[in-house]
Amino acid sequence: MKFGVVIFPGSNCDHDCYHVLKHVLNKDTDFVWHKDKDVSKYDCIVLPGGFSYGDYLRTGAIARFSPVMDAVKKHADKGKLVIGICNGFQILLEAGLLPGAMLRNASLKFVCKFVTLRVENTDTPFTRALRNDVGATGRSPLLRLPVAHGEGNYFVDGATLKDLNADHQVLVRYSDEAGQTTPESNPNGSLENIAGICNKARNVFGLMPHPERASEEELGSVDGLKIFRSILNEN
């Protein structure tokens, strides 16, 4: 499986993603420049975190018009995999590849800390390695990953939210260590504690937490590897 990590002006998690894929997981990985118009040689495109185009206008609003995004849309239409992390998630929302939008964190503060996530659906290419993990709830697996964002307050209209839930497109929610989605465990005010969603076809995934920052023991958690191992279909 070949990975392409997109670099937008202002991306700052591109090297972290590249490092995990290339050096921790030993997978064929390239950087892809935001002006590139062809991503057909890749199986999975990673839109990394950061502050693309300085977050001008709205987070992800300008990046979505980068030449590479037309290629990423075509890639997604073919059923190939796309994962957007943090700013990458915001770009996927602005591009319309995922439904909804991001608001300022309810606290108005930039939040940077480890959070617990409850995995809601393990029947996707991004969560399948968690199929056999059982969390403290006895049902849903839990992950510990860091978040670092000022605009991660997920919002979507009521009808679309209903569809997302009915179709099991919410893949991760902020929860406490018992797997309960409490207001206290919600770091940004997201609707229904939503931390990450996928599209109907299940090949495009966006999440605010950073799996690439929790993929080596010395960083405090290796739970992020479960996302990448799911993509690779390894256990």
Partner: protein
């Protein structure tokens, strides 16, 4: 032709920034302020273009880039 575009969060969307400003105003003694919505104001110089054409263009600009219609409303003035 000049365009003035105003972008604000939809009424159905909570505006944490507006709420914070309202609280600050209240602590200054302006208790009469019932609600505050913070938005963006954008000025565009469209050069020489027919008003009807400008209107069409500015609408497309707002829908596609200047506002995110999932969470924001926009209005504009042309003159």
């Amino acid at each position: 032709m000049k365009a003035k575009v105003y972008v604000t969060l939809k009424r159905s969307v909570l505006d944490p920034q507006g709420k914070t400003v309202q609280h600050a105003l209240s602590s200054m003694g302006f208790h009469e302020v019932k609600d505050v919505r913070v938005g963006k104001y954008i000025e565009l110089d469209l050069g020489t273009v027919e008003k009807s054409q400008a209107e069409q263009k500015i609408k497309t600009m707002c829908e596609k880039l200047l506002a995110n219609t999932v969470i924001e409303d926009f209005k504009y003035e042309l003159n």
